[in-house]
């Protein structure tokens, strides 16, 4: 390793039998990234009573030589024969000794868990997460009350910026997804209705299912994937960079400063996106009606108007407001809970999407029961 050789000579280990001993001469340049002699091939089938190692013509060497000598020593120990390394450079012997000691020393660390421990930890984790979620919702509520009392202290500029990000910037993807969902609903409805000559009722199916269900749910899923993940990643990154600690040490509550603007922005923009998605969904059905089912758009529109009323819009509006709040809360909570590392930020974003979609589905089921009871 010390000597500078521009053109390296290959590492070699040659053997000579001297009496009962095997003399192994190492030479050349030993580079860990190059071709190296194998001890198994060097010794062959010989069974000496001792091994003597020496260096001759040894050029640049590195850990590969240390490892080779260590392997020879290990083999000799197993074969219960002597191994003489006294003729090797002192540095090589010292490093071999260091490797020997390092192999014996392995600090106990156990990252594995048995089944019962895993189940127990998972159960306590669910309980902890539920409490954290409830506590976070409480903090957000208090912060929102503070906003009503002192609207001047609210960070409106951040809120408008987030509204643009999670609202206006989401229009293209929401347009595409809701139009295609309307289109798909129309095709699916037409399969049955055509058999009874009831093509025009496709307008009813598309209108009702879009307004009461698909518009809000599909937009919710898109917003969860797009904005919920972004919230978690932004806040998680801020946490990793100690930006949130900096806020806390200034006496600024992260919920007031970071969460509330996002919560307000998404709670306001999700209903707008859902109403827009409803219109695009109905338009998608209308396109199928006009092109495939030969229903004139005017007839399709009259049929849609006849079968949807304000209560359907109310259902859509209420759902969208709640979905927006849930996604914002889940995204921000996961971001604030993120571990302080790059991997932690990634996990927070994934977790935000999973939590948002799960909450969205649970809320949708609760709404289905509630609206049925209320007769909406």
């Amino acid at each position: 390793m010390r000597a500078m050789t521009v053109v390296p000579s290959p590492a070699c280990a040659e053997t000579i039998v001297a009496g009962d001993d095997l003399v192994v001469t190492v030479g050349g340049d030993w580079r860990i990234t190059g071709l190296l002699p194998s001890w198994r091939k060097v010794r062959g089938d010989r069974a000496p009573h001792g091994v003597r190692l020496r260096a001759e013509g040894l050029g640049r060497w590195d850990s590969s030589l240390v490892r080779f000598v260590h392997e020879v020593q290990g083999w000799c120990r197993e074969a219960k024969i002597s191994c003489d390394t006294s003729l090797l450079p002192e540095t090589v012997r010292r490093l071999v000794g260091q490797l020997e000691q390092a192999q014996e020393k392995r600090l106990p660390v156990d990252h594995s868990q048995n089944f019962l421990v895993t189940v127990g930890l998972a159960a306590t984790d669910v309980w902890r997460q539920t409490r954290e979620f409830a506590s976070f919702v409480g903090e957000c509520t208090l912060s929102a009350i503070g906003l009503v009392k002192r609207p001047g202290r609210f960070r409106w500029r951040d809120c408008f910026s987030e509204m643009q990000q999670c609202g206006a910037m989401a229009v293209p993807i929401v347009s595409l997804s809701s139009f295609l969902v309307g289109l798909t609903l129309a095709y699916t409805g037409a399969i049955i209705l055509r058999q009874f000559g009831g093509d025009i009722w496709v307008a009813d199916i598309v209108g009702l299912s879009t307004l009461r269900e698909m518009g809000a749910v599909m937009t919710g899923v898109v917003v969860a994937g797009r904005t919920g993940a972004a919230f978690a990643a932004q806040l998680g990154n801020m946490k990793a960079n100690e930006e949130i600690d900096a806020l806390e040490t200034l006496g600024i509550a992260p919920v007031d400063f970071l969460v509330l603007p996002r919560l307000v922005a998404l709670t306001l923009m999700t209903p707008l996106l859902v109403m827009y998605a409803n219109c695009l969904g109905i338009f998608g059905g209308m396109v199928v009606g006009a092109t495939v089912l030969e229903i004139p758009p005017s007839a399709y529109w009259i049929e849609t108007q006849a079968n949807i009323d304000l209560s359907d819009f109310s259902v859509s509006l209420i759902k969208s407001i709640v979905f927006g709040m849930l996604i914002a809360v889940a995204g921000c909570l996961r971001g604030l809970q993120a571990e302080r590392s790059a991997a932690g930020v990634g996990r927070a974003a994934t977790s935000a999407v999973v939590t948002s979609i799960l909450l969205l589905i649970v809320a949708d089921a609760v709404f289905a029961v509630l609206f049925n009871v209320l007769g909406l």
């Binding site: 850990s63 490892r67 390092a102 192999q103």
Partner: protein, 266 residues
């Protein structure tokens, strides 16, 4: 500055090996902003070489250009006489094996244990089998004083231990050159001194060339064979030599001020 006045690179004598690193006429830019220009120096084999200077003078920029993370606008970087700047993909890959880097925050992969961190370059560039790789990992961790910590994750270690683990990874392929980016950053004085001792010990054992970017005066005086000092306004090297000589007798007051912390009586 020593050597060739035009380039700052010492001309190799007849039959002498080329310098470990030779930088000629390097210009570093970010867009239209020139950070460094006309930078030339060489580092001898086995030398402990410091790149020093105040904050924002381009030390880390120079390092990023030396290790190929950024391409110079002009000039060349040579390792052992081989052109790194204009090397094709295969040659570049071969040269990358010859140096290791210890990043400022160690840059250990957080989802991997220390063993997995150190073994990755070995898996990538050697034909060693699993058992052989494990032995090298043990040796490397032992060399930096972390014997037995193979199965620990970076998050389970202190800042100083993470730096040492980063050094073990940088040494995995026994590189001829190791670059250090602000090795003392974030470490207490005692841990910092221990890291300096480790650097000396590794140089002594393996004869590795060390290039250290730092503004830690204690480390500079304790370790450096030679330094170059960069300056923000000059956008290049304003001094080259032994730190004590520069601190005592440099013609440039900026150099004396930096190396004596503005108190020349010290």
């Amino acid at each position: 500055m020593n050597g060739n006045p035009a380039t700052g690179v010492e001309p190799p004598g007849p039959g002498a090996p080329p310098p470990a690193i030779a930088v000629e006429g390097l210009e570093c830019r970010y867009g239209d902003t020139v950070v460094l220009t006309g930078v030339s120096f060489s580092v001898r084999e086995g030398e402990l070489f410091f790149v020093i200077g105040g904050s924002g003078c381009g030390k880390s920029t120079l390092l990023r250009h030396l290790i190929g993370l950024q391409k110079p606008a002009r000039g060349t970087v040579r390792y052992g006489g081989e052109d790194f700047t204009n090397a094709d993909l295969a040659a570049r890959r071969n040269l990358l094996k010859t140096f290791g880097v210890l990043y400022q925050n160690a840059a250990l992969w957080s989802s991997m244990t220390l063993r997995e961190n150190v073994v990755l370059p070995l898996e990538q560039y050697t034909t060693l089998n699993r058992r052989e790789r494990e032995e090298i990992v043990s040796l490397k961790l032992a060399q930096v004083g972390l014997a037995g910590y193979e199965e620990f994750f970076p998050a389970e270690l202190s800042g100083g231990m993470r730096k040492r683990a980063g050094l073990a990874r940088a040494l995995a392929l026994d590189p001829r050159i190791v670059f250090f980016d602000e090795p003392s950053a974030g470490l207490d004085p005692v841990t910092s001194r221990k890291l300096d001792e480790l650097v000396l010990q590794i140089r002594e054992t393996l004869g590795t060339t060390m290039v250290i970017v730092s503004h830690e005066l204690a480390s500079i005086f304790a370790l450096a064979d030679r330094v170059i000092m960069l300056d923000h306004e000059a956008r290049g090297i304003i001094a080259e030599g032994r730190p004590r000589e520069l601190a005592a007798a440099s013609d440039d007051p900026r150099v004396r001020e930096f190396l004596t912390r503005g108190d020349e009586k010290v």
